[in-house]
Amino acid sequence: MKKIFNYILLGAIFVGATSCEKYLDINENPNNFTSATPDLVLPQAIVGSASLTSTFNTTMGDIGGQRANGGGFGGFGAVVTYQWTANDGGFSGLWTGTYDNVNDYEYVIRETSGDPKLAFSTSIARIMKSMAFARLVDQFNDVPYSEALKGNQNLTPKFDKGQDVYQDLVKQLDTAMIAITAGQADPAVNSLKSSADPMFGGDMDRWKRYANTLKLRLLIKMAGVPELQSVTGPAFASFDTSIGFLTSDAVVNPGYVKTDRPNPTYNALAYSTTGATQQTSRIPTKWMYSFYNGVKLTDPYRGGAVYRSFPSSIVNQLGDESTGVPQAPASGTSWSVLTDNNDSDAIGITKGPAASQIVMTAAESFFLQAEAYERGYLSGNAQTAFDNGIVASFTYLYKDASNTVAAGKDVAADVAAYKAANNTSYLVNYELAASQAQRIEAIITQKYIALNMISNDEAYNEFRRTAYPAIVNGSLDPVRTFASRQSTSPRADKLPSRLLYPQNEFNLNPTNVPTGVDQFNSKIFWDIND
């Protein structure tokens, strides 16, 4: 009996063991993809970068001079004192959001670089990853780069110096441009469907120009640093200007719709998906307003496009929490000329829920060129580039939700009128600038105006690098500086100099986070001003 029993048992185990494998092999996920082809990942990563452009823009507005606290709210605390902590959610969002986003590009590069046919995808991912890392260095300086994005291969990546990251990003952009050029000559390389490229619709020439403009932005920032001039000198000497630079705005539109996936800028600066007015605690600064309302410059053209109720918009000075500070308008934010939450098409910053999201303006491209020509980095006509920059700025702001200049708007006429209205200001009329310093001031000030509520972060970066637009250090006059009235900064300009690393990095990568970093004394490597 016992023997028979043993045989039965042995047999059962044998049969069981073989069918067992099959029975248990059911752990394949029916709910989510566990792998995705690069052409599924790349477009959403580009849309993610565009969304982050809006996040950087909004987040940096308080520091960069464009945004102030509104009345009716209390407790702005660190927003107006600059006494940030590493816990500050807004800033850590820039960090984590960027790393989440670049991880997607890293995936695309990893998955496609082995296949020459996919050279365009690889190159686009390389360009976008470079853009995103540069944006991160511009706020955090040293960041994990060479050891980052390795998953559990390296749970505590080291921090690379900001300037080293920049140098590698220039190389990455060169690699991408060379690969695209080679790919364009090779019929075997897959061209991109326009639906797979929500930024340039598969136009690889425009990708190259975008990459070249990014490269110019990086090199100009590096060129001011004496120890990096041995790098930037040869880089400018061998600069391939034949590729050209961005001549039209780089915008992304995967098909934004109002109800649940609107344009990120519209969502941040106009209305939420439920129709609620955003930015109820924030209004424009008197500082920024002075570039439009005649205090510094007269610009009812762009002022009327950017601000609700121009020239009598509700404005404040950052840090002024006294009673009587007006509340944000209830019907729509001060940066939106949309009539209400049913309006879907307007000019200015918040063009509409379905409008394209700006990633880089043509204006910035022209102002970068102007600076490069003015400083002799590259050869070209600085004034032409400067004037083109102003025209491009008007053009972008005059575009409506369909990304074309709105009917009834005449860019050329208004630019001419703008020049006439400010006919004594070298900030508008380049030929009046008497020195290189004034010419650079004009270029950067116009860039600052052109990037208002479009790329507040880059406007603030350029202020830190060049000290333009000029401010009066320590002034409490709301149009002479954009430093907060309640600033606790020990610096002469009463401003912060950089963001703090997020708390999570201290918690989770403690041995590598640079120590001794604070928001007043530590600077980004290209910040050569005091």
Binding site: A36, V41, L155, P254, V257, E505
Partner: protein
Amino acid sequence: MKKLLQSLFLLLFVASTAIAQERTVTGTVTAQEDGLPLPGVGVVVTGTQIGTQTGVDGKFTLRVASNAKSLTFTYIGYAEKTVNIGSGAMNVVLTQDLNALDEVVITAGGVSIQRREQGNQATTIKAAELTQAKAFNVGSALTGKVAGLQVNAVSSGVNPSVRLVLRGNRSLLGNNQALVVVDNVIVPTSILGNINPEDIEDIQVLNGAGAASLYGSDASNGALLITTKKGKKGVTKITAGQVTSFETVAFLPKLQKTYGSGTGPDDVPSYTPYENQQYGPAFDGSMVEIGKPLADGSIQTVPYSWSGEKNDFWETGVSSQTDLSLSSGDEKGSYYASGQYFTQNSTVPGDEYNRFSFRVNGSRDLGHNLNFDFSTNYVQNRYDQSSDVGNAYNNVLMTPGHIPLTRYSDWETDPYANPNGYFNEYYPNPYFTLDNNRTKNRNDYLTGNAQLKWSPITPLSFLFRVSLATRNQSNKGWTNKFTYSDYRLGITSNFSNITGGVNDGAFFETRVNPEFQAQYISKLGKDFSLNTILGASMRDDNSKSIGVSSSNMVQAGLFNVTNTTGNIGGSEGNARLRQMGVYADARIGFRDFLYLHVSGRNDWRSVLAKDNRSFFYPAADISFIASDVIPFLKNSEAVNSVKLRGGISEVGLVNIGAYSLVPTFTQQYGYPYNGIPGFGIGNRIVAANLNPEITQSQEAGFDVEMFRSRLVANFTAYQSQTTDQTIPVQIASTTGYTSFLTNTGEVENKGIESALRVIPISTNSGLEVTLGANYTYNKNKVISLSDDQDQLILGTFGNASIAAVEGEAFPMMQGTTYNRDPQGRIIVDAITGFPSVTAAQVNLGNTEPRHRLGLDGTISFKGIQLATVFEYRDGYIMYNGASTGFDFSGAGIRTTYFNRERFVVPNSSYLDPATNTYVENTNITTRTGGVDFWTNGPSNTGVAQNYTYSAAFWKMRELSITYDLPKSLLKNVGIISGARVGIQGRNLFLFAPKANLYTDPEYSAFDSTSNAIGFSSLSQTPPGRFFGFNLSVTL
């Protein structure tokens, strides 16, 4: 054993005939638990050997000497009883003796063994004890009755969910709840709220992992084995019952009753008729206007005094339970069928629940040594609840004390109750909130099993069993559209029209579980016995959920996703898990006093990687009946039995669901757009070699019975170490990911479980008093987490978090506190007198009780039985996250602690700038003591410690009085053979420390499966006390 006893009785019977007899005594012996006759009960004249046995009908006839005073009745599994001989026929009721060593109990794997063989702590709860207070949730019915078992009703409302934990929390993030097994089928814990308590024969609680390890990887948390009723041989019985119960609010938060609506910056209170904040002037009884005028100019006027209506908002809940059951059996088979209908109205206005359940159990002897058994249970329940109870409660608290709140229930027709005319400028009418946000749920459960057992030869049997558990659910939720009048929008800028939304979903889960078992029971020689089991089981779990939702309703009142202008969103989730297990179990007995039990099980789980999915659980325990061996115990008059026991085990718990091993890609940033997909990499990476969590546990204890079972005690000490916790470790986002699911960390639990039961009074006249107590102590500690992390946040609520912190008890409450000087005094500002809050969260205390004490008592006399259960818990804290509702609104009692006047913060100090030292503050009063202080974050509402309090409590869990109508009375009614009437109450009283201003410490703001225990919010409405009456008749 049984045979031996029988032949002994036979012998006695034969012997007794030889003695001279003088009179005849007749009678019937029945069982206390069901009133049915007991055949084979030994009946002897007390102090002699003269006796007989009862027949099949429980009747006996015995001739006794005229001087015989009493008879003693003995029956295996029942307490011995001595009854005076009276004049008429004797009706003797025997009570089950649960701790008798020879009682047969069901243990893991459905195996029947004698209690003497059991080497682990186990407690049996019989039907009578379970249903004495007519709890409609089986989990609640166990509360306070079992050493080591912690039962928390984590919420209020209809059919609240219950969390059951044995021997503390072991897993940081995974499941800690006891395994629930009904008739040998592992079922979801939610069954406890759905199974009919009247269907249960008994519940065997296996406290430790070792006892349950045969169930495999789900058993590390111990198990509750529920056995449902079967028909009895030769007895046909029909029982009908009705229970009606009322629920009233038992504990209300402490609210201030002195100040009405308004606000008072700088301590100058002013009355505002439409204000929600209650920082206005003190009540003075004068007539005041409330709200703003309606469109027609009318306005309400009420006395400015405490109306008490905030507390009257909660209604009296009513529940009704109707039962019918039928059982019958003959020599070849038996069956049991029952039905129950239960309805409940909540204390929350408008919330309803009903449940219908139906059960058929049967067994049949098919001949040829074949036995067939089956049980089936169908349950359906229906919920109709508000989905916004938390906000409604908040809106109640946002109602100043003089407002006649209950008059606003009819918001549709009463212009002052309608949102267009409601007095409150900032918060909606709570009745409107309840009505306008609702959810309906329906659940249908079908569980059952069928088994065939074949014994080709006596010692050997084969068993094949298939079980099924399914749940089928659908739900519908909506927020109705409401458009305000232009007049209201014109005078109130705070309101915007409610656009409405609808969601609809469905879900099913099915578990199929075939199992095979071979058992061999035999004597090995003269001294040894052997009971061996080999088994194999498979399990297949399949579930699917789908949901659709949409917003922006076109028309109010039509709750269909198509009645919207928003995009209809859809979701789908599927999960399939499989498990295979083989197990072996052997008990070797030596001379009926020493038993060694070893078991082993190997599982294969589909959710783990191929190389890791096989794992093995060994367990061993030993039982030694000292009283059968050690002479002084053996010969002791006082001691009936002493059992020593001990066990060790190792069990693995798989704490991941299906498909957790591979990172996923999801559509992000609004994708898909217009037909174009886009995917991003998820934020979690998973360790390549993920393994189950392993719990190693050891226990040792003893069971003692003394004084003819009138004193029963047991004691167990245990400890467990759970290692390789499955934790999504937070990682730096610079890795490209934010969490890394891996095995790391260790938790230790240590504790004791003890129980004592005494029968101090048991008279021949039938008066019996039983007193019981059980005490549990559990202490746990997080030994380690991971190299990169010394704490892990499980949940955050308000300004507090629940965390696992290395070196501390788990779960640990962390929260903000006041900045304090080195002496622990609160630092206040030298000018404003205001304290300030810490930026960081500090450890505030553990949130699970260290000590738990259950007390119970039963008095029975001539058919009347009084039973009660008390429970005490202590050694833990709780946080109420509703500071907005209480202190921002000014409704909370704390805001009046200093009569809303400037005050010196007690035990405070300030920094003296001259000396740079902290000086005791005796005279710097707060700048204000009114709205500015109490609604301010840094000085009050942002300080988590202000809302943290001892969660200790005493509860009167149960009180019931039942009366069994005498048989003599029922004879006249004819077919009725038994009738019982009773009154019952549950959770009648809650005594909590004064510091508990808020609510029931059993509550949890998160659901019962979350380990983030210690928060309560306004979503848990005030706890209820239940009381009512019951009636049952037996045919």
